[in-house]
């Protein structure tokens, strides 16, 4: 069956509406799954309408590609660990980027064979190639950093900005030359240079800024799709590209605000070197500095009879895989009539919203999980705060110490609670490398050890009836 161009355009319109509704579904967890299904239907309509159109005549390669892609995508989606979600997302961004590059070059070859090239088309092709290639190599670097294949530390050298600027200027010049003349050499060199730019743009950004990198590359992958839409005069691709592009841009903005840094500072700042530091005799170092350490029993003593306990999780919780033990602890405390809440800082974890997914995976109901602005007023009337694998996001230095690198960053006001317990492996500072002023406050104690072991210890104590 072949459909007319008008029918196809209408089908694309329906698909575009479904994609918008799909994103709209994420306004609330209750409507989110339906949203995702609407997105699937939209995609199915878009693909079916394209295949039924008159342009698509040979199906061999298409069927092979879709079947292989479905198998690989299905396996990845079913197997991925929730802690590894940022890596999967980075890999998927790189695929969109590469697909955009391939589509642009393929379109060039097809038009070149048919003799229908023109400067506007070639300009649009160049945009698709440049953005796609940057998205690809940038995402590959982000994947490498997240997976620990390459160091998460920012890689910096003198003249870095000059090099980036020079690469950018040369690439634009090549794009203009290609658009004007159709020179194959310009096309190839432009493509290669764009891959290099993606690399040099992401390599200086530190591991601590991963939530921003992920959001930025998300945005780039959208712009790559939009540029492809311009080349093909396909409005559906343009609409989707704009939606995705803006989604990534807004997430980047939210992440930057949550760190009180500008996007330029993140991209060019080289913040967040992952410092080493000794974990040897954490207790001794702590005592030297006037920090109190506490035992599991001390914490339980206050928690058992508390009215409210707030847990502040950070990426350390995910590393220790402590979320399941936390859930058990939450249930035992609730049986005692204690209200348990979770407080999430926007940049906790390795990507936006990462902590929420990890807590959801552990079956912690989402109505127990709160954003920073919602929960901050409650700390002052809270009996016990348990900080699990987080650090900078509760550091009052962000409020009080103007010389601190994290000054101005909005924080969770954990220090206002009656008792604060930090579950920490060592005295190592957080990603910012800044000492946490909270450690020296009278109401704050540290419980050293693996977060999962500590919380399991709390669960055992609670079950034992304790005091």
């Amino acid at each position: 069956m072949e459909i007319s161009a008008n029918t196809q355009a209408l089908a694309y319109l329906v698909a575009a509406i479904l994609f918008i509704l799909s994103l709209k579904g994420l306004t609330h967890p209750a409507s989110a799954r339906r949203g995702n299904f609407l997105g699937m239907i939209g995609m199915a309509i878009a693909i079916a309408a394209t295949l039924a159109g008159h342009e698509v005549q040979s199906y061999g390669f298409i069927i092979a590609g879709v079947v292989a892609g479905a198998v690989i995508g299905g396996v990845l989606a079913a197997r991925v660990q929730m802690t590894a979600m940022p890596q999967l997302v980075a890999a998927l961004h790189s695929f969109v980027g590469m697909a955009a590059v391939l589509v642009a070059i393929g379109t060039f070859l097809n038009h070149s064979a048919a003799g229908t090239l023109n400067p506007v088309l070639m300009g649009e092709l160049s945009a698709g190639i440049v953005i796609g290639a940057i998205t690809f190599s940038g995402s590959v670097i982000a994947f490498g950093k997240l997976q620990g294949l390459i160091s998460g530390a920012p890689v910096r050298f003198t003249g870095q900005h000059m090099l980036n600027a020079a690469l950018g200027v040369v690439t634009i010049a090549l794009a203009v030359h290609f658009a004007a003349t159709g020179s194959m050499a310009s096309l190839v060199i432009m493509t290669l240079l764009s891959f290099v730019i993606g690399f040099t743009l992401i390599i200086p950004i530190g591991g601590a800024d991963m939530p921003v990198i992920i959001s930025m590359l998300n945005s780039y992958s959208g712009w790559a799709a939009a540029a492809t839409g311009f080349t093909l005069h396909n409005n559906l691709l343009i609409i989707v590209g704009a939606l995705v592009g803006f989604s990534g841009a807004i997430l980047s903005t939210i992440m930057c605000r949550a760190m009180n840094r500008s996007i330029l500072n993140v991209v060019f700042g080289g913040f967040g070197s992952e410092s080493g530091g000794g974990g040897a005799s954490a207790g001794a170092v702590a005592a030297d500095k006037g920090v109190k350490s506490a035992s599991v029993e001390d914490a339980i003593y206050w928690m058992e009879d508390a009215n409210r306990v707030i847990v502040v999780p950070g990426y350390g919780m995910a590393v220790a895989q402590a979320q399941h033990a936390l859930k058990e602890m939450m249930e035992l405390l609730e049986e005692n009539g204690v209200e348990v809440k979770f407080a999430i800082h926007p940049v906790a974890g390795r990507m936006p919203g990462h902590m929420n997914v990890l807590l959801a995976e552990a079956d912690i109901p989402y109505d127990h999980v709160f954003e920073m602005d919602e929960i901050n007023p409650e700390f002052a009337s809270t009996d016990v705060v348990l900080v699990v694998g987080a650090n900078d996001v509760v550091n009052p230095a962000a409020r009080t110490d103007q010389s601190s690198p994290i000054y101005g960053m909005p924080i969770l006001e954990a220090g206002k609670a009656q008792h604060v317990y930090f579950l920490k492996r060592s005295m190592r500072p957080g990603y910012s490398g800044v000492d946490n002023l909270l450690f020296y406050q009278d109401n704050v104690s540290l419980i050293f050890g693996d977060a999962k072991d500590t919380i399991e210890g709390m669960v055992t104590t609670l079950k034992g009836g304790g005091h």
């Binding site: 994103l23 391939l102 995705v244």
Partner: protein
């Protein structure tokens, strides 16, 4: 109005829709949002289909198109399925 200008209109208006819709997304679903946008940016598969399916497409274009279809399909299937898997975990308290 030339095609490119029409495309620009569509693009700019879609940017506004994106802006308003995305600010409405609850922060607790930001990870599923990134995964869902991964899936729908797999829409470049349409470009890949058009390149690969063209009757007159040369072998080089066909091979490039095949890889583009493959990569975009991984996004579409992987993205939607993993989003679904994540969203299924978000539950309210059992009463």
């Amino acid at each position: 109005m030339p095609d490119t200008l029409v495309s620009l209109y569509v693009f700019v208006l879609a940017c506004f829709i994106g802006y308003f819709v995305i600010w409405g997304v609850t922060p607790s679903l930001h990870t599923p949002l990134v995964a869902l946008t991964n899936a729908i940016s797999g829409i470049v598969i349409i470009g890949a289909l058009l390149v690969t399916g063209l009757e007159e497409a040369g072998t080089t274009a066909e091979i490039m198109g095949f890889f583009a279809v493959l990569l975009a399909s991984i996004n579409v299937f992987g993205g939607f399925l993993v989003t679904n898997r994540m969203l299924a975990m978000f539950k309210k308290k059992k009463k």
